[in-house]
Point group: C2
């Protein structure tokens, strides 16, 4: 069992109509001028933006707006946001949307609070010394960015997708109304569930320290997400299922499911997906589902006890046979679940057809992005990454 | 499913030798003069106090000391601490000890940060508007006070024991080194495990909203504590078992195990024990174990689905028979566990012999303390409380 730090200062306000509290929550932070950051405009069409503004008006908090954040959020918009926030004297950023909007808001927050090029942080050249305070009104359960310390940004030049983690970026509050996620397309809901599962799996499949209590939380969380993702396929307006998935999304990536395990987990699946997502702009969750089975089969022998435990306690497969049998049965059950919620289990099913050169390029970029190697279940080098991509085609 | 708030800003620093970080952690809070608060002097004898002081010295943080906090911490020492802290210009309180020391530190913190009599908060006459920042070096896994918003103080005049909860009192950081709990007497270890279980049970046995993910976390936590409490009976120096119990203690009472359930849970067992503890000064965990079976048998029919679920998912009893059979089997299994870790399951086993007048007085005081009624599994009035005490003799 390893030493660990756990720090989740985000105030969660969860449930129906909680978006009406955002003005008061900003005021509680002592802030006076908000940059409302959002995405494609669906928050405008749904009326959510008006509700948020009404709440800010009620609390007598001033605001400006910046829309346009896209999935795999872009550095160019981050630069625009930084400039705008500085010019307008903004002292708080309110992200209204999903992970892309929140990640973009965090990047803007780092850019405002620190001198120099914000990309330096994502490029691992230096560490941020602060971040403008961030609040969230969450509309998609997926990335867990509403409580996490991480943010992922894509630099258009070279389509490089990189993450940066710092406790300064953890949101001050997160408003989570499960009803806001009900209008999501089924595909996005399934992508979100995949991402949530992956955040816990990537802390679970490690070699080294583990804690029983952390394992039991992680296993319970995964079972809950799988069960409720299935419910949402046939009943997307089910409030309780939406709520289970939404809260799981936050717990999955706020640090809780990694306490006592090896520091940093094994985020190889995420790293591998980032290179697909950086080039092809596929939905993040779908990219993760497409790559996971290939990664799992490549590494499971090096992390056999955990894969066996996962198979039995999460996928609840028949425990007969060797540890190998059980582990493989668990991987298959997980892929069956992906298919059930209409997620791809191969790269081709993403609707893309990368050639061998593209796979090699992705493996190369991935290995650079993670300083040459990646993983705890099994340490991966460039050639391993290439083989995993190849087997995932 | 109910709306909920979740707020756990405490920075947890968990593992071996983490007490060496306390100076840096105080400094990070921008504080300059610390009141080190502790209990009977065992932290002095063990050398922990010297390590804490060395860490504060290294960080160039000034400090004074106040020992003497006792189990069921007293209001008179709180007053003394408030006076001392004000006189010395203290801006941070570092609690080195278990729940009693932390609760006492919180009360001192409220007293310094607010005008008037600090007992007013515990007596539910008014709300605190702040608290001096608190840090913790934890030496007993039990109350969860290191991450919770609650504090329980005993007023000597009339031996009234009352709790007060406010987010202002949540510690800024909590240093948790499981090794520091290894020298505890077995009885104290078992009392701690009982208290931890009770904090989760009191959120679990409610009527109304619940969440699957919260239930799965609660059930996993309870199984983990039961399993590791058994290990500690025969192997008190087992680091991993100490660590499981210690982290469970924090998670059990920081709010996590109640998310989505009925607000406030059902803390009737705690309220009933507080009246025993207030008069007889018994160990809190032992008092809880003594009263729980009687409470559970009195209320289980009004909360049958939860008692049945508990019996199967936590106590893992035979699921044959009626729901009543299964529920009762679960209660019996829990009492068997208490006996296994040498906890009492009756009031007499606490070594006290309250007469009928005493039981009536406790029931009366308990019903006043909780404004006439208490409970969600079953709402209890004064006569119910008397019957539970009586059946627990």
């Amino acid at each position: 069992m390893y030493n660990f730090n756990y720090y989740t200062p985000t105030k969660v306000v969860f449930g129906k109509n909680t978006e009406d509290q955002c003005g008061g929550l900003v005021k509680e932070q002592g802030c006076k001028k908000v940059l409302i950051h959002y995405g494609s405009g669906s928050v405008r069409r749904s009326g959510l933006l008006d509700k948020v503004k009404a709440s800010l008006d009620d609390a007598e908090v001033d605001y400006i707006e910046l829309g346009g954040a896209v999935p795999n959020p872009r550095l160019s918009l981050v630069y625009e946001g930084i400039e705008l926030a500085k010019k307008e004297g903004v002292d708080f950023i309110l992200a209204v949307g999903g992970g892309s909007v929140i990640d973009s808001a965090k990047a803007i927050g780092y850019g405002v609070a620190n001198e120099g090029d914000v990309w330096d942080f994502y490029d691992r050249k230096r560490q941020a010394a602060g971040c403008l305070p961030i609040g969230v009104v969450l509309t998609i359960a997926a990335t867990g960015s509403e409580m996490s310390n991480s943010s992922v940004i894509t630099k258009e030049e070279g389509w490089v997708k990189r993450g940066y983690s710092s406790d300064y970026g953890r949101p001050r509050f997160a408003i989570m109304n499960p009803e806001l996620t009900m209008t999501l397309p089924d595909y996005q809901t399934a992508c979100g569930c995949t991402d949530i599962l992956m955040h816990t799996m990537e802390r679970y499949f490690t070699n080294g320290g583990n804690m029983e209590i952390t394992d039991s939380i992680a296993e319970g969380l995964m079972r809950t997400v799988i069960e409720n993702a299935r419910i949402l396929v046939r009943d997307p307006k089910n409030y309780d299922a939406r709520a289970e998935v939404m809260w799981a999304g936050s717990l999955s990536h706020n640090g809780l499911t990694g306490c006592g395990a090896v520091v940093g987990g094994d985020f190889a699946s995420h790293a591998l997906e980032h290179e697909i997502g950086g080039i092809y702009d596929v939905a993040h969750g779908a990219g993760l589902a497409a790559i996971w089975g290939s990664w799992a089969r490549y590494v499971y022998k090096d992390c056999l006890p955990r894969f066996e435990k996962f198979a039995m306690n999460v996928m609840q497969v028949d425990p007969e046979g060797t540890a190998d049998d059980v582990a493989l049965r668990g991987i298959e059950a997980m892929e069956d679940f992906y298919r059930e919620i209409k997620m791809p289990t191969s790269i081709h099913e993403l609707g893309i057809d990368p050639g061998d050169d593209e796979l090699k390029l992705m493996a190369h970029k991935c290995s650079i992005g993670c300083k040459g190697s990646k993983g705890s279940a099994k340490v991966l080098h460039e050639e391993d990454m290439y083989k995993i991509y190849k087997a995932a085609l």
